[in-house]
Amino acid sequence: MSRPGLRRAGLGALVVLTLTAPLWLANPYYLHILIMAGIFAILALSLNLLLGYTGQLSLGHAAFFGIGAYTSALLTLRLDWSVWAGLTAGMLTAAGAGWAIGRLALKLRGAYFVLVTISFAGVISLVSVNWMALTNGPLGLPGIPPPSLGPWSLRSKAAYYYLVLAATALAWLVCARLVGSRIGRAFVALRENEPLAESVGIDVTRSLVLAAVVSAAMAGLAGGLYAHYTRFVSPEVFLFTYTVTMVIMVVAGGKGTLAGPLVGALLFTALPEALREATSWQWQMLTYGVILVLLVRFLPLGIVSSLSAAIPRAIDQGAGPRALARPQPDGTAGAASSASRSELPLSNRALAVRDLAVQFGGVSALAGVSFDVRPGSITSLIGPNGAGKTTAFNAITGYLRVVRGQIGYGGATLNGLRPSAIARLGVVRTFQKTSVFPALTVMDNVMIGLHLRGRAGLVGVLSARRWVRDEEARLRTEAERLIAFVGLDRRRHAVASALAYGEQRLVELAVALAARPALLLLDEPAAGLAGAERDAVSDLVRRIREQGIGVLLVEHDMRMVMGISDTVVVLDHGVVIAEGPPTAIQSHPEVVRAYLGSAAAQA
């Protein structure tokens, strides 16, 4: 009781102090620092949404900031728009730029994404310098009006402080709601394991563009607030220094946490101001650089994460008490969801692979393979390593381009669809190498798997509608049911990377099942498992079949394959050399020669 109680008391005191700051802060200079910290906090929150949650580093955020600042400044100066309209327009313009960057750059990852964002900021900055007629060039735009509320002008520092405070709170709330929702889970899933995220139906493009748009809008708002506060903008707003400052704030505070950017912003706005008296600007920047290097090296998770190291770095951490609340113990909700499961029209869902061919750099890995998987049956794909089994998996689930052939599924054609679209049709796969969302708890892993079962969109999440909350609770119950199904109930809140290998494989299964497959493709689910664990997996696969789900299994353990399969398909060098019930396969002469070894024939 004492620890959470202390925490709540501390937070309460902080809120009171923040709300009354203009009253007890005698020196307006300190208030100025707080206002700047608030603006930077919005920026840091916006960058954190990309860097901390989706894992994409943008070094072009100064551009969104500058776009927001210039748009609002120009509209209020030249067209006499009200400041509020200007701020909104600035946000929207920045969001548009974010959309464009997201659309264009979403194919790129890591370093390339960074370079495109830097270049984008570079171009925008040069435009602001050179387009004299619009921006007044390097001289900048002076005399930007302050906002007013009815008859009152928010010219005073205290008034502006409350405005910025409200905006920061709003930005934080947007982040918190997003992060605690299925949208935020999709972001984190992409950061942690993109192929796995796609396999459970998360649309990479949509998610990343959404993150970029929201993030850019927030940066644009910060820019507008900055412009109307300092009442002057110049190309300096695009300075790379701002971007670096934002990055440092996020990294120092703790990327992927909700409190981190706030702490970072406060610290790194106040620190340089404190240093300003003592040292030159160069020393400050030099210190910045050194701090960044040291942080990454020794405190990679940031201040907030390191302080709360006891709590696993997970998405529920930021989502506040609501997300952490335990769902109802198994009861009505569970029954409802199993009822909805039986409504699924599974009967006509058969997979038909016809003449499938795949090539790698001229070498054919699959040369015209055909087979079927009937619903509610287990079909095993066996063959020597390199025979093309995993290639077939990748081709069926959209991870590979097919040269030739048809992949039909329940009346639809899977050819050319993205993995997430294929998952949406009910075809879900697992991966040969253990593939989980490593930094997240078992619960969060499965919650991500449940992505397609939720419907909450951006508007619903941000307005925290009742049905969205109900849906969230329903998903949690469903996640617990699935975790129990694979037998991991006791490990529900353990971080996936800390689990034993065999347990991780079970998490994978639970994640795949969460996507509600009608057809499940399992790639060596028992690889690396010991005897008893193998039996458990065999048993699970049988129980999955009992639910009417079709299973396509790749496995090397012949005892398991022969024990549970309804049909066995044997691949060798990219062609099917045999197909039939296990008993027939075991004595099939060609199979024995190619795969089982002629010793078996001698037996």
């Binding site: 194919k107 984008f120 920047m285 030099l286 650089g289 290097v293 990454v296 990679p300 750099g361 890995a365």
Partner: protein, 278 residues
Amino acid sequence: MLGGTYALLGIGLTLIFGLMNVVNFAHGEFYTLGAYAAFAAVALSGLPFVPALVAAMAAGVALGALTERVLLRPLRGQSIDTVMLVMIGLWIAMQNAELLVWGGVAQSIPHPFPTAPLTFGPLSIAPLRVFVLAAALALILGAHLIVHRTRLGRAMRATFQDPDTAALMGVRIGRIHTVTFALGSGLAAAAGALLGPIFLAYPAMGDLAALKAFSVVILGGLGNVAGATLGGVLLGIAEELGAGYVSSGYRDAVGFVIIILVLLLRPSGLLARAERVG
């Protein structure tokens, strides 16, 4: 002319970014370092120009090796983003350290070449520029020979194609990383020392240089020495055209636009080699 030094910058970075996959935002700072080291050697220590050039390159190599050992080696195997953040930190720190040491005033590096231009028919060119171009070409050729003709270069290429297998061949991977980074940094420093006498040395000179190096590398394809050479020349020409036809204010935008366009349209660079999948 400009293309030659762009190429030199690009080759250094193509080794570091293309082969080692380190997004070296501090690359421009090694260029700046080269210029100041040359300045210090000539103007302060009274060294002749050519030895000063060598000294500048040595400084780049030494600091590059140190950077790799101290900053990068502990981070090997970490995500590219982590490394990138460290390099941003180094960039900011180095640039401001230079500001502190040298002040914000641009320094001109004395050189021994006569100022009267050489005239070849309609062409006239300063002897300094002839020397710079020749030296740049020699360094490019040297780098190419090291990478493609020596045991060390072979080990470098092998290491960055397949580190595990290279280790199985007995290559000491750590050493190759250090040497590659040092070589890349040395080339950047050489570029700085060569261009210093023409353009003056000032602390922020590295920012644009780094941008241009990235454009060159991306244009030429990662890890491709020949590509970087071509990329350097192309960037030089593109900038002239951009400045001529659009506006001289947008000269530096050419590099940005090239990065964006090439990455979006042809991410493997102009001299793409066939990717082997699987």
